[in-house]
């Protein structure tokens, strides 16, 4: 309980085992770490290292095999389905690699969607969604469908959707995975700027070493285990000690 104020996410001995036929695959192997409120945390690792699985576990999308994940003092794998849905509405935002926008809806409606689930009035949620689209620089694209937009624009809609309900934590799973390097940087800047503005916690999964520089902390995952945790912020404060070599 003493950590409640300091750590917003606590992962304790998290383990995830997949069964592929007779084989058991240990995707996440006894991982423990904590993330502070307002931190930009990066789960970095090669593809297949289990970092995405770890993110999904933290978001409650996948079930843990064993261990605990505590967000804001709630053990999210002990929650009911309805409770988890409500928790997601209020506390969590998601940015996906493949954007995951609803193609039948306009950009504005996509951004509104999390607020629709929260029973918010049309007027209020429309205003908030417009504001968000403006923040990500898509004020003139409100009425466009996802299929009428570029990848970068779609991802910005995705970011607006993730931040619209002002969640305390935003999970981003390879948010720039489908984008070129220039747009990637734009998108990352937006995420960083938005998170800073409201002191939101970001947990981002990436295999791109270049993107780790946006993070305050890098958790390097290899074969389902934490290989090392690099605290960039702390290093900054400690007057630029030689950065630990980032193994690629």
């Amino acid at each position: 309980m003493k950590n409640n104020s300091e750590y917003i996410i606590e992962v304790k001995n998290a383990k995830k085992v997949y069964r592929m036929g007779k084989e058991r695959i240990l995707a996440v192997d006894d991982v423990s770490f904590s993330i502070k409120k307002g931190e930009f945390c990066c789960l970095y690792g090669a593809s297949g290292s289990g970092k995405s699985t770890l993110l999904n576990l933290m978001a409650g999308i996948e079930k843990l095999s064993s261990g605990q994940i505590i967000i804001k003092g709630h053990n999210i794998h002990r929650m009911s389905e309805k409770g988890l849905a409500k928790f997601r509405q209020n506390t969590l935002g998601f940015v996906f690699q493949s954007y995951n926008l609803l193609n039948s809806m306009t950009a504005l409606e996509n951004v509104e969607l999390p607020l629709v689930f929260k029973h918010m009035s049309v007027k209020r949620r429309r205003k908030m969604a417009r504001e968000m689209l403006k923040n990500v620089g898509l004020a003139d694209r409100q009425k466009h469908k996802p299929t009428e937009m570029s990848g970068g624009q779609q991802q910005r809609v995705g970011i607006a959707r993730a931040f619209v309900s002002n969640p305390e934590i935003v999970f981003a799973d390879e948010p720039t995975g489908n984008l070129d390097s220039k747009t990637s940087r734009e998108v990352m800047d937006i995420i960083k700027r938005m998170a800073k503005a409201n002191n939101q916690t970001i947990v981002m999964v990436t295999h791109d070493k270049g993107l780790t520089e946006y993070a305050d902390r890098i958790i390097h995952i290899f074969d389902g285990k934490i290989e090392e945790i690099i605290d960039l912020k702390a290093e900054d404060k400690k007057d630029n000690e030689a950065p630990t070599g980032n193994t690629g």
Partner: protein, 441 residues
């Protein structure tokens, strides 16, 4: 999700897949149409049947005649028997279960005179207490017999026939309310006592029924007690020998008429009467094959309607299942974004129910149109299907839609929609978010 958002989203999804929605709705339309039209034709048949039957008399009436015709099992004539209808039998019949009203009938043959003009009449003397049970029609003038005054002679709408003067060979229509009438019994059977004055009865109290297009129109009625009274007076004018013979007539009835409390009990009562050794007649006996044929026809129609509704239920379920496959990813995204499972289920149920509602409404509209067309152009087909003929004169209606029928049609459509959407909806809620988001669409 708020209801308004749910409706908006559901309608959008239906609209998105226009062609599929239209085809599914069409299935419901046909099912709903079929059910409504089927039942409406049933109502049409019933109505026709009723009007037709009323021309013959009530379906719950059973007659026991003094000459009983015996039918074999197929309803063919197999002989006849003299039947003695007396007080004893009357009491036995009264004791049978489900018999509501019983009356003996004595026919009095006689003549009415208006001056020199005369006409023959046949009086049906019935117990005045059961007139109501046999649904005697309203009177255009006069009153039915009461305990105080039972002397009334009640004429059916077409009674009496025209009066005839044999000498001048001329006809005269009598005004029952103004002209003086005198009644006499036919006296060819018995010899009048020469020392007594011939029996004549001035008719002072008459009543006339309105037109019913039933047997009432051609009969003349009198209360049994009053009839017996005047008959005894008549008998007193006869010779001693014939008087005894004539009085015996009162002990034996021409007919016993009884009424069952319910149409379903008519057969049972007839069987009981048979056990007593008497043959009886009822309209139901003649009409039974017709009734059964029309019931079978209605059942077949209803079965077709049910089948088509079942097919459209399958079609709705199929549409919803397809839609879930297509929208797996969408469902996954909604779940991750914090949509509660209940809302997803409601969304799918709403979409399925909406297909039912739209189909039902269009189905109701088209069934009114179909009903109109059937009534206008359906004569050759339905005239043949409805055996037993149509009511005379007026234009027959084959399809009648009572007010409850469209509501029923709509209700069935919605229920079918919801039921066939229920399992797909449940399935939608079970989709795992992570699996759903991995699928491409």
């Amino acid at each position: 999700m708020k209801i308004s958002d749910l409706l908006k989203m559901g309608l959008r999804n239906l609209f998105r897949r226009k062609v599929r929605t239209i085809l599914t709705v069409l299935g419901v339309v046909i099912g709903c149409l079929f059910i409504i039209i089927t039942i409406s034709i049933g109502h049409g048949m019933d109505r026709n049947f009723e009007t037709q039957v009323k021309e013959y008399g009530s379906l719950t009436t059973i007659n026991v005649n003094n000459y009983g015709i015996i039918y074999d099992e197929d309803g063919n004539w197999a002989g006849g028997q003299e039947q003695k209808l007396d007080k004893k039998l009357l009491e036995q019949i009264k004791a049978i279960d489900h018999v509501r009203a019983v009356t003996p009938i004595i026919r009095g043959e006689g003549e009415l005179y208006s001056g020199k003009y005369r006409t023959g009449i046949s009086i049906m003397a019935m117990d005045k207490d059961v007139y109501d049970d046999f649904e005697f029609p309203e009177l255009s003038f006069g009153e039915y017999p009461t305990d105080e005054d039972n002397s009334v002679l009640i004429f059916g709408y077409y009674m009496p026939w025209e009066f005839y003067d044999e000498y001048y060979r001329s006809f005269k229509t009598v005004d029952l309310q103004k002209d003086k009438l005198i009644f006499k019994f036919y006296n060819w059977q018995y010899e009048t006592n020469k020392r007594k004055r011939e029996f004549t009865l001035p008719i002072k109290n008459v009543a006339k029924m309105v037109e019913t297009k039933t047997e009432f129109d051609y009969n003349i009625y009198m209360d049994l007690d009053y009839f017996e009274k005047i008959y005894m007076q008549y008998c007193n004018t006869l010779t001693l020998e014939d008087r005894k013979k004539a009085i015996k007539v009162l002990d034996e009835y021409q007919q016993i008429k009884l009424n069952a409390d319910n149409i379903d009990n008519v057969e049972e009562i007839q069987d009981k009467i048979k056990e007593l050794g008497y043959q009886s007649d009822s309209l139901l006996l003649y009409l039974k094959p017709t009734i059964e044929a029309s019931k079978t026809l209605q059942l077949i129609f209803l079965f077709l309607g049910a089948v088509s509704m079942f097919v459209s239920a399958i079609s709705i379920a199929n549409t919803m299942v397809m839609s879930i496959y297509e929208r797996t990813k969408e469902i996954g995204i909604m779940k991750v974004l914090g949509c509660v499972v209940k809302d997803i289920r409601l969304l799918f149920l709403f979409e399925a129910g909406m297909i039912g509602v739209i189909g039902g409404v269009i189905g109701i509209g088209s069934s009114y149109a179909a009903s109109f067309l059937i009534n206008k152009y359906g004569q050759p087909l339905f005239g043949a299907l409805m055996s037993g003929g149509m009511p005379m004169g007026e234009m027959a209606t084959y399809s009648i839609i009572p007010i409850y029928l469209p509501l029923l049609g709509l209700g069935i459509s919605i229920v079918v929609g919801l039921l066939s959407g229920y399992f797909p909806a449940r399935r939608a809620t079970k989709i795992s978010a992570i699996e759903a988001m991995r699928t491409e669409n």
